[in-house]
């Protein structure tokens, strides 16, 4: 349901199953029913490390930074599966997030929430994913930072990655998404382009807080 080069977003209220969907896609949990296919291959029986090899990176909810490792070490772990030269990728990440470059020797746990989110995204990019799974990148961040993060997500797409974005912040998500799905209690209830859904009355009432 995600095409090459798109940003697709999955929105829905608390407990709708957004994060669970992402976790099933990246192999951390096994779906009880249904199928996950990636480039025509069924991947729902594959362990997570195999799925990473196929070119999928998951930025987990809550960021999952290794607190006691430095920023640099966190980034290197993102490229765990690769054995080739990483300097180009490091430059790319530091280009997207100049803040990380200033802090590369600092333990991940001492970064601010926004910086940790940058690090989590940067770390996922180190695997050179063709599909990037982002779980709630706006969680707990100030509005200004959310803007920055979303601008970067758009930029990452321009550089050629496909993004599957799970968000509670529906307004922001729909703004940058090419297409969107609305998930309720584990079932997709609505789908359309980002703009369509942003103008859909039901969506506006339920998720954008309008009367």
């Amino acid at each position: 349901m995600v095409e090459d080069g798109e940003i697709v977003t999955l929105i829905g209220s608390n407990g709708a199953g957004k994060s669970t969907t992402l976790r099933a896609v990246s192999g951390i949990i096994r779906p009880r029913a249904g199928q996950v296919t990636f480039r025509g291959k069924s991947i729902d029986r594959l362990p997570p490390h195999k799925i990473v090899q196929l070119g999928m990176s998951h930025v987990p909810e809550g960021r999952g930074i290794f607190h006691r490792m430095t920023v640099h070490e966190n980034l290197l772990l993102g490229a765990y599966q690769r054995n080739d030269d990483l300097s180009g990728d490091l430059d790319r990440v530091y280009g997207l997030f100049p803040r990380l470059k200033e802090r590369l020797g600092q333990p991940g746990g001492t970064l601010s929430g926004g910086e940790q989110q940058m690090l989590a995204i940067g770390r996922a990019l180190m695997a050179r994913p063709t599909l990037l799974l982002l779980d709630e990148p706006s969680m707990g961040l100030s509005p200004l930072l959310v803007e920055t993060i979303f601008a970067t997500i758009a930029q990452i797409r321009q550089q050629g990655s496909t993004v599957l974005l799970v968000e509670q912040n529906a307004l922001m998500a729909l703004e940058i998404a090419d297409r969107a799905y609305v998930l309720e209690s584990g079932v997709i209830t609505l789908q359309g382009t980002g703009a369509e859904l942003a103008n859909n009355d039901a969506v506006r009432r339920s998720y954008l807080g309008e009367e």
Binding site: G64, H67, Q116
Partner: protein, 378 residues
């Protein structure tokens, strides 16, 4: 800022620590008499076991309370195939064949334990490994045909070099010292390799580690196997040293001692493991020596101070501890009080150095670094 958490204290590189340990060991070997070298042997043996457990607990973060199982495996491999007395097995295999056999058997048993416990974490893992340690001991007790049950196996094949046989305390000490240095080298290299980084990631957050493309199953099994083979190596050197292998030697207390010395020393750090072993294994031995007692007898105030505590204990307890006798006599009685002194030392370490005697750089961060900034404060 990461280089030195306590500024002003220059840190020696790890190889310097290893060199100091080696030199201290060799000096002790050269100058001290056999009783002392026996203590050094035990300290080094437990340090080696500690390095093995440290791979599992300190590096990969898997709490293992049954480490004695692997120690027993190593000892029994050497005993069953290396002693003429063992039933069911004819002939005696050369020790230098048995040693690698024991190490491989340890790795095998380690994976055997590792496989079923892979999905377990934390407390559950601790309980299962605890049981596993007991299973191995009870197996040894009941497999009479191989182990002679509680009567144990003695008269083991000894290691030899050239025409000589390793049968003195001093020679065994050199053997365990070589083993300890080799294990230190190997574990340090592993820790600094890609494998070590995978372990560290698993220790910090297994789910995220998976997400980074780390095959957690493989690396957890590897940690179990490597830790276990080191435990078996220790057992294989210990068995011919005491020349007696019986189930009673492999009780839970061995696992606890090894885990305690890893924690007291400073988890994740080999220097700490050695310091922990010196304290947990060395100090109680040391307090039994006449020389120690003679020196301590000179400190009247120390005896008086201890007597205050003993009086206090007697006042509130139904048990009656005898008071320490006057200085000229209390020397040889001191051994009776060694566990009081030992307990006091442990409490002191916990209060004064909560992250261990020589915490690893990372470990220290965990105890001193501020909590991560709350989300949203950019």
């Amino acid at each position: 800022m990461l280089e030195s958490v306590r500024p002003g204290v220059p840190r020696l590189p790890e190889w310097a620590h290893a060199l100091i340990f080696l030199i201290v060991g060799l000096l002790g070997w050269y100058f001290l008499d056999d009783t002392w070298v026996r203590m050094l042997f035990l300290v080094t043996l437990y340090a080696t076991l500690g390095m093995g457990l440290n791979v599992v607990v300190g590096l990969a973060g898997l709490l293992d309370l049954g480490f004695v199982a692997f120690f027993a495996t190593g000892a029994y491999v050497v005993a069953i195939w290396g002693a003429p007395i063992s039933p069911s097995v004819d002939g005696v295999v050369n020790y230098w064949v048995l040693l690698p056999m024991a190490v491989f058997a340890g790795a095998g048993i380690g994976m055997l334990l590792g496989l079923p416990v892979l999905p377990l974490r934390g407390d559950y893992l601790a309980i299962v490994t605890l049981g596993f340690g007991e299973i191995i001991r009870i197996l040894a007790l009941n497999m009479d045909d191989y182990t002679r049950g509680s009567s144990g196996i003695f008269a083991l094949a000894k290691p030899d070099y050239g025409a000589e046989t390793v049968d003195s305390v001093r020679e065994f000490f050199i053997m365990i010292l070589i083993a300890a240095m080799a294990v230190w080298f190997v574990t340090a290299r592993l820790r600094d390799s890609k494998v070590g980084r995978a372990w560290e990631a698993i220790r910090e957050d297994e789910d995220v580690a998976q997400g980074m493309g780390i095959n957690t199953v493989r690396y957890k099994l590897m940690a179990f196997a490597i830790g276990a083979s080191i435990g078996a190596l220790g057992g294989a050197i210990y068995a011919p040293f005491v020349d007696f292998v019986a189930p009673a030697q492999f009780s839970l207390i061995v696992s606890i001692n090894v885990l305690a010395l890893v924690i007291i020393g400073g988890m994740g750090n080999t220097t700490g493991v050695i310091a922990g072993s010196a304290m947990l294994i060395g100090v109680p031995e040391l307090l039994q020596f006449q020389e120690t007692a003679d020196v301590l007898a000179k400190f009247e105030w120390l005896r008086d101070g201890l007597n205050v505590f003993i009086d206090g204990f007697n006042a509130v307890s139904f048990a009656d501890l005898g008071k320490l006798p006057p200085s000229e006599e209390w020397g040889d009685k001191l051994a009776l009080y060694r566990f009081i002194v030992f307990g006091a030392l442990l409490v002191m370490v916990m209060v004064l150095r909560p992250s261990g005697l020589f915490p690893s750089r990372r470990r220290e961060l965990e105890f001193t670094a501020e909590e991560p900034a709350p989300a949203g404060s950019a």
